[in-house]
Symmetry: C2
Subunit: 335 residues, 2 copies
């Protein structure tokens, strides 16, 4: 794999490793910042490790993926200057993981200090949507001082760049847009609130909208696709949308309306130049973004009047989180 190292990653180069601890796998990337012509960060090697789900030894898994990459870099005479780790959840300012739905074994652990002492280099641990925001800022919008990143997966995550800097908030929990209440009489969220944005605009929300439409007889093809509407998932909707099914299209448009509503709220609050959409749902960006833009233009004038906000799909696809984690530790070391 070290054949992938470009010519400018010379002996002594300081490389970075970014890790994304996911629900199904852990991805570690070896990253050169800058690149040959200063064209932004370059991924020069990658390593997959086990997921963090339910495994208290996930820190060992992260460390072994990092060591494998570092060893291959060392074979080429390059060294690793730092390690960034991104995960779904929240990390407080002292480095303690406070919540980690994909890696419950990390909760209440000081992952930063443990990895730093195991690996002997600076380590940063942060929320995965924060990492995605950093990657998007570096790769597609380095000139924008205000950027909002939102991940649409099973849940919704968020990362805010304000005046060019990532926002962590008082206790490291800033950027939790999934729990904005957008309908106080809406369905109960596991968080205990009613009508959180995440109930409508996450992958779980898309499935819920599909089930409701199937049960109401509004989407017969969706009902037929699985037999029992209770089994409907977001993928059933997006698959039928790709085939041009009108019932699924209507559900997907309703979903896009909920996505637009939450983005409009973020826009009136934070006045960004760029909104980056990432996460699993954004595989459907070609279908989703035009619908979201149409809802924004038609229904949310307070968010669009005077403004010219760019809506873009996250660059780097599934690697954006790990790439951003590498850039975060680069910023900590070299800023």
């Amino acid at each position: 794999m070290t054949d992938g190292l470009p010519a400018d990653v010379h002996a002594g180069s300081d490389l970075l490793i970014g890790v994304d601890v996911g629900g199904t796998k852990t991805l570690a990337l070896l990253v050169a910042t800058g690149g040959p012509d200063g064209q932004g960060p370059l991924v020069v090697d990658r390593e997959l490790g086990p997921s963090g789900a339910g495994d208290p030894s996930v820190v060992d898994g992260i460390a072994s993926a990092v060591r494998a990459l570092a060893a291959r870099a060392a074979d080429r005479g390059a060294t690793v200057a730092g390690v960034g780790v991104g995960l779904a959840g929240f990390v407080d300012p002292s480095g303690i993981v406070r919540s980690a739905p994909n890696a419950p074994g990390l909760v209440d652990q000081d992952v930063r200090t443990r990895l730093r002492s195991e690996l002997g280099v600076p380590v940063v641990v942060d929320n995965d949507a924060n990492c995605m925001a950093v990657a998007a800022h570096a790769v597609i919008a380095p000139d924008s001082r205000h950027l909002v990143a939102v991940t649409f997966g099973t849940g919704i995550g968020g990362g805010l760049v304000v005046d060019g800097r990532l926002v962590h908030g008082a206790i490291g929990f800033a950027g939790e847009p999934g729990h904005m209440v957008v309908d106080p009489d809406g369905p109960l969220c596991p968080c205990g609130q009613r009508g959180c944005w995440e109930r409508y605009a996450s992958g779980a929300g898309l499935a819920w909208l599909a089930r409701r439409a199937a049960e109401d007889g509004r989407a017969p093809s969706l009902a037929a696709a699985v037999g029992d509407p209770a089994l409907l998932r977001g993928e059933h909707v997006t698959a039928l949308v790709a085939e041009g099914d009108p019932g699924a299209g209507a559900v997907f448009d309703e979903y896009a309306g909920w996505v637009a509503l939450g983005l409009a709220n973020l826009i009136v609050l934070l006045d960004p130049q760029v909104v980056v959409l990432g996460g699993g749902l954004i595989a459907t960006a070609a279908e989703l973004l035009p619908r979201v833009e149409e809802h924004l233009a038609r229904r949310f004038p307070a968010a669009t009047r005077f403004r010219d906000v760019r809506l873009v799909a996250s660059p780097g696809g599934p690697e954006a989180g790990a790439l951003g984690a590498a850039l975060l530790v680069a910023a900590e070391i070299w800023s």
Copy 2:
């Protein structure tokens, strides 16, 4: 009025002037920053001018109030180092006023440049809720790096302090929480959206909740207070609440629930240490804040779990905006 100058405002002192352009009057304050024992900014003189409502000559009104204060300062041998102006509305980064509901004559004018050339000192023009946020940050929470200020008046305004700095956003329109959509099937807002927070949680929102309760027979004393429910205003509710009227109390509690909902959304997004509530409605802080805190604790766990957010009424009362405007220009001159 110069008798109010304290001993430490000596000859040559650099004082600042802060102006709040309101719907009913323009208030200008002469402000000494720091004060005798470094106890924060001190208001040493004040001057009232005409309101900006509908008057294209409001810039002249601001300039004459500023000149009156500057002349009285000069009598004591002190000079004015800069002028800050706060107004409801938005100012773009080039200094052009883009919207100003209380002073429509200012729209599309470069108020900063005009005042600077008329007065010969640095001038800053900003949103009034931004000014309130700056004043609150300086006076009650200088150690907090993350603060959200919300003004509850006819409408709702907002000011965000993130990592110790006021947030303006890409085009100067950050912090417009009144137009967060909190109920997509709610009443139409003049902005063109449905169910904006401002429809429920502003003074106009309180009046609307009161009318609805009176029409539904839920608040007979409110209906009786004015004869025609269409005439109900927020003041009718707060007056009856002060008398312990249960129907008005229920309406006010419903109102507090809407206030809490929007604050909860701001908290999950920005993770502040302090939320400052200002504006006309906050004359009722003693009645309102405990109700808002109760709703937050009971209905919005995502906003309260792990966190310890202080809810406080804006310091300085009706002078907070002008005081903050003075501090804003101080920061521009001396930072």
